[in-house]
């Protein structure tokens, strides 16, 4: 592998990883606060990309402008799903929780398939093939935009959680539901808000993927699986872990794609996943949240 290809692969890996990081941050946030693994997580990314498709096709808007729509629409949907459905099973047997989320996932895929059909869709923007070349490395414009957007959003969310009152309330609930309640925090509201934020972020990741990306209703499932890997790798509930983990998996996967071919590269992530689950289930950053 020549140095140019090596660095090119790293760059490509980072770009992919940026998206993975965004999706995984959403998942880990939800887990950290609600202590539930969102088995329907990838579907919210899929919804995001279809919102971009719909906005582009109906209104001709540039997909990136669909971000606010996606945030409100899908984040709102997520919040409602949490408040209406998930809230009821938070203290139930994990099997019930998983089945409910699998049901939601199936339902969402079905709805999208119903309205948009199972045929692969895509949207094309004029700048989708444009490339910047820097230090001999080619970077496609949409992917570059997506990367910077992911970094920006991740940072913003991090600062939000760190320094704003609501952010601190969210972190408080993630540390102790009871203590937060005793401090007067409306835990149910925080749950709803967190789930909404988590799904909104994931939806944005979907929008960022939109330009020239093949869209099918089941595309979210692969992202769900990858998000699981990243979240476990980065320690469940750990924001920074999900971010770094996302970048790592993005790079690993891109290298695997180079050596093994595109359709098999997922096996690299699966192997990492299985290895982590077996040998270090608490992830890179230590103690497993129980």
């Amino acid at each position: 592998m020549s140095p140019e290809i090596f660095y090119q692969t790293i760059i490509n890996g980072l770009f992919t990883g940026g998206i993975y990081a965004l999706v995984s941050i959403g998942l880990t946030l939800i887990y950290g606060v609600l202590i539930i693994v969102n088995f329907a997580h990838g579907e919210f990314l899929m919804l995001g990309i279809y919102v971009a498709f719909w906005a582009f096709t109906i209104f001709g808007t540039d997909p990136y402008l669909a971000i606010p729509i996606a945030v409100l629409l899908i984040g709102g949907m997520g919040a409602l799903i949490q408040r209406g459905l998930i809230q009821r099973v938070l203290d139930a047997h994990p099997l019930n929780q998983i089945v409910l989320l699998v049901g939601v996932s199936t339902l969402l895929i079905g709805l999208v398939q119903f309205f948009f059909s199972a045929e692969p869709r895509s949207i094309h923007v004029p700048y989708e093939t444009e490339v910047i070349t820097l230090f001999g490395l080619r970077m496609s414009i949409p992917r570059l935009i997506a990367f910077f957007a992911s970094m920006l959003i991740s940072l913003s969310l991090f600062l939000f959680l760190r320094y704003t009152r609501t952010g601190k309330a969210i972190r408080a609930v993630s540390q102790s539901r009871e203590a937060a309640q005793l401090m007067g925090i409306n835990v149910k509201y925080i749950y709803m808000l967190t789930f909404g934020i988590g799904t909104a972020i994931t939806a944005v990741a979907g929008v960022l993927l939109a330009p020239n990306h093949r869209m099918i209703p089941t595309m979210g499932q692969a992202y769900s699986v990858i998000a699981f890997v990243v979240v476990v790798l980065g320690t469940m509930g750990n924001f920074v872990g999900a971010f770094i983990g996302g970048l790592i998996i993005g790079i690993v996967e891109t290298f695997a794609g180079f050596f093994l071919g595109g359709d098999v590269k997922i096996i690299a992530s699966m192997l990492i996943f299985i290895l982590i689950l077996l040998f270090r289930p608490s992830g890179l950053f230590g103690r497993k949240r129980s």
């Binding site: 099973v89 994990p94 049901g103 079905g110 119903f114 890997v229 476990v232 689950l277």
Partner: protein
Amino acid sequence: MSAEATNNITKRPSRSLWHTLFGDWDRTQITVSVILVVLMAIAPFFIDSPYFLGIIILAALYAFIGISWNIVAGFTGQLLIAHIIFLALGGYTTIVLLNVYRISPWVGIFIGGIVAALAGIVIALITLRYGLKLDYFALFTIALLVALRTLFLKWDFVGGAVGMYLRLANPSTAKMIFDTKPPYLYIALGLLVIGIVIQYLVYNSKMGKYFMAIREDEAAASALGVNTSRYKTLSVIIGAGLAGIGGGFYVMYVTFIDPTGLFNLGVNVEIVMAGPIIGGLGSLAGPILGALVNKPIAELIRGFLAGERSGITLIVYGLFLVTSIMFMPRGLAGVFQTLYMKIKRPSRDDV
């Protein structure tokens, strides 16, 4: 025992039969299951349409698969989400044995069951050895599903992405290939009967009660002498083995297998999960009730809402799962059990 003894002296024959069939909720479930099987068995005498018979065949098969999952997830409470792995492995084994080695599927499906059971042992041992519980266990099985799908996609011996078709052959009983529906129905029902029997035997046995103790509270079970590792493994073996056999038949019936079609979470929801969830996970009649409800309803809805618009099946199954968990966590069987208890109470001597 004395109350029953008194009854035996004064009972009329029909009363004793009634008691045998409906005396308690468990018996009632078995009786209802048998009645449903009988109804399915006589269906071909009233229904000619291959389409409708096909629905019944699949409903029966889904009921059998549902029973296999019920033992692992319902009785023992293990979050083995990607159960379809075992069905797929059984299916692949059966079709490879037939196509490549000319081994009759009558033998092949049971070898498929053994292969699936072996996979179950491996999975159980790994997850126990490394202490994978709850969410991690569920995620592990999903990761395996994806990994296996990728492997099978690349494995030319089993047809890779294209999959395998049943070798074209004239209808032959020895090869489990028929040109009409009824024979398939009777094989499916045969399997279902075996499934009902095994499920009931497990349920009543020490092993079954240990399974349920593990589901309810593993630490307490352990404190009372239950070797939880051994019994969790046993439940997976039984569930996987049965699913493997079911997978073998499934492949013979649909005559085709491919990785994306079978190592597939959506299919997993439809074939494995929806039935027992709707019917009542952990109950005896749940898998059958559920399969008989969801398959026909899904097909009907799909038929009504015009086949062009895909996604209907998924919407239906999704709604089934969601509404079931939200409003009927113990499924149809749970609802009927409550009714049964209410009906029973007036006639019982009160405590």
